[in-house]
């Protein structure tokens, strides 16, 4: 069961090791040792680094690696019309570089696997130990398998970076807390939202008499989820596409000095073949990125999202929820409620924060459509924009945090004012849902 859970990460790790061994084929053993040591270190981080920090570190590193890939791909495209070989080749097979790259890759792969195991495994010894052994065994298997690969498949430094980053992103796409694609889409959506909003504000368009509902309909496109998704796709795939383009644009060798036509053509044909083979690794990276984006869009994570319990208010207009009644409010889980009064209704939840204090919030934020929240380990997730909200910040206002509700925390339960709750819900969803705008 554990192996099945970690299968994508371990597969990605095997492919990573294979790529490293092929790229640094002059120093196979050193690369294998460094990769194995890195993986052990990454796995050990589960015991050393506190859970939330480990997630943040992995995510931060992946973000930095993705930015590096962006930079490198632009430089490689800029240099693509050079005749000499791929830039940076001379750095390959230098001992410090092999060791450092393999070590870092191992650390990230190990840490990603550790994150996948979750904090539940932190106190155990056997599970991380098994993982570490599996990681090292896979490096040994890759060491053997690499010799079976065709010698024609070569790895350029940029191709290696693309494939390593893609594999790391793929491995992380199975973990909602370290996945990059969903937050990237969300940032694009919010960025577009903010830009359009600020633009409208700055030119006072909202008050203009000529901006009719049909125009707002078109403007609403910029606020839709699709903008975030497609914008995210562009940012996600552009660096690898630039690398593929750079390889395709690489100039063929000069042959004008070769007198014999057949020899000339042979040199050109060999160069074209080598160029096409160089496309293999970035092409593989592209396929892996597609898989990562798909996985990110179709997460296998199951959220804790209970069906809202319907509540009523007493004659004084007060809603009371007992601490330990039908549900236990102190269990650290999200408890959703629905309050209806006539045609008005409000959806909210009660949650005990990690600091031991109860918090009551609307099942909606001040920005997104009120699709509600689900709970994963240590975080809530906004279903609309996929933002992860640490439980420590629940009860605070701003951003995509759920809107807090005034309540009285009493020894026997929580008490809310029904009218205030309905008003708060009404105001929130009025500002976040506009008919025919298809968005916030």
């Amino acid at each position: 069961m554990l192996a099945l859970k970690l299968l994508p990460q371990l597969l990605a790790w095997t492919a990573t090791a294979l790529l490293l061994l092929r790229a640094f084929s002059g120093r196979r053993l050193a690369t294998a040792y460094a990769a194995g040591a890195g993986f052990l270190g990454g796995t050990a981080a589960l015991a050393v680094v506190p859970g939330a920090l480990l997630y943040d570190m992995v995510r931060g590193f992946l973000g930095a690696a993705f930015l590096l890939l962006w930079g490198v791909s632009v430089v490689v495209l800029y240099q693509s019309n050079r005749r000499e070989g791929a830039s940076g080749v001379r750095f390959l097979n230098r001992a410090p570089l092999c060791g450092a790259v393999a070590l870092v890759c191992g650390l990230i792969a190990g840490a990603t696997c550790a994150c996948r195991l979750g904090s539940g495994a932190a106190g155990q010894l056997l599970t991380p130990l098994l993982l570490a052994v599996a990681g090292c065994a896979l490096v040994a298997a890759a060491l053997y398998a690499e010799r079976l690969l065709s010698p024609r498949i070569t790895v350029t430094p940029a191709g290696l970076l693309a494939a390593l980053v893609a594999l790391a992103l793929f491995a992380s796409s199975f973990l909602i807390r370290v996945d990059l694609f969903a937050p990237l889409s969300m940032k694009v959506m919010k960025g577009t939202h903010d830009f359009v909003h600020q633009f409208m504000e700055s030119v006072l368009i909202p008050d203009h008499i000529f901006v009719r509902q049909v125009v707002w309909g078109y403007i609403g496109i910029f606020f839709s989820k699709d903008v975030g998704f497609w914008g995210g796709m562009v940012i996600w795939f552009t660096p690898v596409c630039l690398l593929l383009l750079a390889i395709r644009l690489q100039r063929l060798p000069k042959v004008s000095h070769i007198r014999q036509g057949a020899q000339r053509r042979q040199v050109i044909a060999r160069a074209i073949k080598e160029r096409n083979l160089r496309l293999a690794v970035p092409g593989f990276a592209l396929a892996v990125l597609i898989a990562a984006a798909y996985q990110s869009q179709h997460p296998t994570v199951e959220y804790w999202d209970p069906k809202p319990l319907q509540l009523t208010a007493n004659a004084a207009g007060e809603i009371f929820i007992p601490r330990k009644g039908e549900v236990n409010l102190e269990d650290g889980k999200l408890h959703k409620y629905l309050f209806k009064q006539g045609e008005r209704e409000a959806r909210f939840f009660v949650l005990m924060a990690p600091n031991g204090k109860l918090t009551v919030d609307l099942d909606a934020c001040a920005i997104c459509k009120p699709d509600g929240y689900g709970q994963t380990e240590g975080t809530l997730i906004c279903y609309y924009c996929k933002t992860l909200i640490p439980l420590e910040t629940i009860g605070m206002t701003g951003g995509c945090n759920p809107v807090p509700v005034q309540f009285a925390d009493t020894p026997d339960g929580v008490r809310l004012n029904a009218a205030s709750l309905l008003n708060s819900w009404g105001q929130t969803i009025q500002s976040t849902t506009r008919p025919k705008e298809g968005g916030k």
Binding site: Q260, G261, A262, R264, R265, Q266, I268, R270, I272
Partner: protein
């Protein structure tokens, strides 16, 4: 680039119980034009196929241009044929739905990569500059054979093999093709092995060998 030297030692080829080529020792120095004569079934084409890497011997040794053909793998043999040998057949074996220039480019494609300008140039060298876009069906027998010559020499082979290349041609076309081959050989300096029934055609070579029932029975120098 040096042309091929052919060395055979006790070279044989059997098909079941039929021995098409009995142990034959032959040395063809580089740049020589060797004519091979004999009756039908005497082993002429078998010898040519072995030398060109189209077939594998049953025994003996065979070296072409220093390469031991018996030691080559299938891939190695294919590479040898691609880079080393040009063949002109009696039946032209041109692709009927491709133009003359495209037929030549096809040979370039299998060798390395097509180059239309070079293919056009090759056809102009064989006097077909005005027939580039014509398909084989629109060309005379002599013209088709000239396309075959252009196709055979386009990859600068070191060994040119002809299996009765003028067998289907009238006297005038035959002389034209032979004159062309002589000119090209002088320019490209390849070794030629040409199988023929025609004594007049054989006389264009430097040396003629005669095969009878798979045995080399006689050889004579036709030119100093």
């Amino acid at each position: 680039m040096a042309a091929a030297t052919i060395e055979t030692s006790a070279l044989t080829r059997s098909y079941g119980e039929i021995c098409a080529l009995k142990p034959i020792d032959l040395l063809v120095p580089e740049g020589e034009w060797l004519s091979v004569m004999g009756h039908s079934g005497s082993g002429k084409s078998t010898l040519m196929n072995l030398v060109g890497g189209l077939d594998r011997p049953s025994g003996g040794a065979l070296k072409v241009g220093g390469k031991d053909l018996l030691a080559l793998s299938e891939d190695g043999l294919a590479r040898f044929r691609r880079e080393y040998v040009g063949i002109i057949f009696q039946q032209h074996h041109l692709v009927p739905y491709l133009s003359a220039v495209e037929n030549v480019m096809l040979a370039q494609y299998f060798h390395s990569t097509p180059d239309e300008a070079e293919a056009r140039n090759a056809l102009e060298r064989v006097g077909l500059g005005h027939r580039l876009k014509n398909r084989p069906g629109e060309l005379s027998g002599g013209e088709q054979q000239r396309v075959c010559i252009a196709r055979a020499i386009i990859n600068s082979p070191k060994l040119l093999l002809g299996d009765e290349p003028t067998g289907n041609l009238d006297h005038k076309s035959t002389m034209m093709v032979m004159e062309l081959l002589k000119e090209l050989r002088a320019e490209e300096r390849f070794t030629v092995v040409m199988v023929t029934h025609n004594q007049e055609v054989a006389a264009w070579g430097d040396r003629t060998i005669y095969l009878d029932d798979g045995v080399l029975v006689r050889e004579e120098r036709t030119r100093c």
